[in-house]
């Protein structure tokens, strides 16, 4: 199993969420984070340039079975592309999963 971590722009969330749903991936966890960017944005604050080096981003966590990994990555990429193209995806090994209510473990807990 894998844990996919995608960092996208807030305005990309609707598109990415939709893309994942279309790929029948319905579970995820979203966190609002601050991320660095290649080029820093510039806001104005009372006439003074404000170098914003950490920009608002959304961090999505999606746990999937190895079988679904590529499908999930494609879905996320598609969603990002439809909404500007930014976005970074990280994939880490997932050693185990537990659904507390049923007590199920392992990949079965992902269904």
């Amino acid at each position: 199993m894998k844990m996919i971590i995608a960092v996208i722009k807030p305005e990309q969330l609707p598109a990415v969420k939709q893309a994942l749903f279309d790929a029948e991936i319905r579970h995820m966890t979203a966190t609002s984070v601050l991320g660095t960017a290649p080029r820093t944005e510039q806001h104005m604050y009372r006439g003074v340039k404000k170098e914003v080096s950490l920009l608002k981003r959304v961090r999505l966590e999606v746990a999937v079975n190895d079988a679904n990994l590529e499908r999930a990555i494609e879905a996320i990429s598609r969603g990002c592309m439809e909404s500007g193209g930014a976005g970074k995806i990280f994939v880490t090994e997932l050693h185990d999963v537990v659904t507390v209510w049923t007590g199920e473990r392992g990949s079965r807990a992902l269904y």
């Binding site: 807030p10 305005e11 609707p14 609002s32 608002k56 959304v58």
Partner: protein, 435 residues
């Protein structure tokens, strides 16, 4: 020892006074000044209420619109508006007193500057009502253009008809403090604007069913309503334009308390029944609905009637908000239902509970006066609302073709604060901008 009798005596002794300088009534001047200051503060109420009801990413834009529409309203009303509204008699508009030059206040004993101030605050209120209905998607520049036109020309024309000695005044149309002139006018303008603009992204599903797009701060919204209520005492009681009749001022004040109180209660109960839970925003809107509803009849009805008017207004606004959604118009703050629908209701209510002895042109239907008053009230509402709707539709379509009314889809998603003003309303807070 009531000033009222004094006034009487004044008129006797007046001539002696008049020739040298106009004799000012210090007490009435003070009251109208204070009333104007209270009405000014309603601007703060509108801005925090509307800011609280939009998402964080658009709060700054709403605040900016509230500040600038008031500023340009006072300027526009100083240069053009006042002259059109009170400059001179005439069926449809006045034509003297641009820049307030060379005219006196129509109210004996009031310095024209104070009378202007009170009236200018009303113009500002009318303009600002719309900010909420068009929130989260209307271009800032276009909003500035619209608000100047409304407060400098459209509002003064309607105002002239009713308060400036125009044709509706002649017919005996009674709108004491502006249920129609200010609120219905603002509400219908909001309706036209929201309709021309179209709904926010995500507001309506393919099947036309509405989604809720929540505001970001109930404390701000709630504070806004209390500030509005506070200012409304100046709005209604100040419309006596003097302290000549303390009993009238007193009656207006008590009605302006009972109507919103019961409006909040009935709106809450309605929401409870319809949606299982007592809703804060609907209760707040209910209080405003009661205030809007009592604005026209506040002087001409008894406290008992005020209770009826407010209670019905509270219920009306709950159904009104649902109805606006049903016709697929997106009004983020419920301005159309509260100011438009309840403004109309309040005006008609004069034709139902108004009493001649209390200052109405004739007794209302329930007071045994028959349908006469109700007829005139209806006519007046139709005239004012109809004219405003048509005029503003032209204005908005014109602005749309020149400047464009609506921001881009990307801007709407990112929020108007960043794209239109380059600001963040809440620095440091972790926020889901597209929640």
């Amino acid at each position: 020892m009531g000033i009222s009798d004094l006034e009487a005596t004044l008129l006797a002794t007046a001539p002696a006074v008049v020739q040298d300088a106009p004799a000012f009534d210090a007490l009435s001047t003070l009251w109208i000044l204070i009333a104007a200051i209270l009405v000014f503060f309603m601007q703060a109420g509108f801005s925090v209420l509307e800011a609280g009801l939009v998402r964080t990413k658009n709060a700054g834009n709403v605040l900016m619109k509230n500040l600038l529409d008031f500023s340009s309203a006072t300027l526009g009303y100083f240069v053009f508006g006042y002259a059109i509204m009170y400059g001179s008699e005439g069926l449809f508009f006045g034509t003297e007193g641009w820049f307030l030059a060379g005219i006196e206040s129509p109210v004996e004993g009031l310095p024209v500057e104070v009378f202007w101030l009170f009236q200018a605050m009303f113009a500002g209120a009318a303009a600002t009502i719309v900010a909420g209905a068009v929130a989260e998607r209307m271009k800032f520049t276009s909003y500035l253009a619209y608000s100047f036109v409304l407060s400098a020309f459209i509002y003064p024309i309607v105002g002239h008809w009713v308060w400036g000695g125009g044709w509706l005044a002649g017919l005996g149309f009674h709108d004491f403090a502006g249920s129609t002139v200010v609120h219905a006018l603002g509400g219908v303008t909001g309706l036209v604007a929201a309709w021309v603009l179209g709904p926010r992204f995500g507001k309506f599903n393919a099947d036309g069913s509405p989604n809720a797009i929540g505001g970001h701060s109930l404390p701000l919204a709630s504070l806004g309503v209390f500030i509005l209520w506070f200012g409304w005492y100046g709005f209604n009681a100040g419309s006596t334009l003097g302290m000549g009749e303390p009993d009238v001022v007193a009656r207006v004040a008590i009605n302006t308390t009972l109507a919103p109180s019961i409006g909040a209660v009935t709106a809450m109960i309605t929401s409870w029944v319809r949606y299982e839970k007592p809703d804060l925003l609907l209760a707040l809107n209910g209080a405003l609905a009661g205030l809007v509803g009592i604005t026209a009849p506040c002087a001409a009805v008894s406290p008992g009637a005020a209770l009826w008017i407010g209670a019905i207004a509270g219920v009306l606004c709950v159904f009104g908000i649902a109805w606006i959604d049903a016709i697929r118009v997106d009004d983020p703050v419920g301005a159309v239902a509260v100011h438009g629908i309840c403004g109309v209701w309040g005006t008609l209510a004069v034709g139902l509970w108004g009493r001649e002895e209390l200052g109405a042109t004739s007794d209302g239907l329930f007071m045994g006066g028959g349908f006469g008053a109700l007829g005139i009230q209806t006519l007046g509402v139709i005239a004012c609302v109809g004219f405003t709707a048509i005029a503003m539709w032209i204005v908005f379509t014109a602005i749309d073709s020149v400047l464009g009314l609506r921001v881009s889809h990307e801007t709407e998603l990112r929020g108007l604060d960043i794209d239109e003003h380059g600001i963040e309303s809440y620095g440091g807070f972790q926020i889901f901008t597209t929640d």
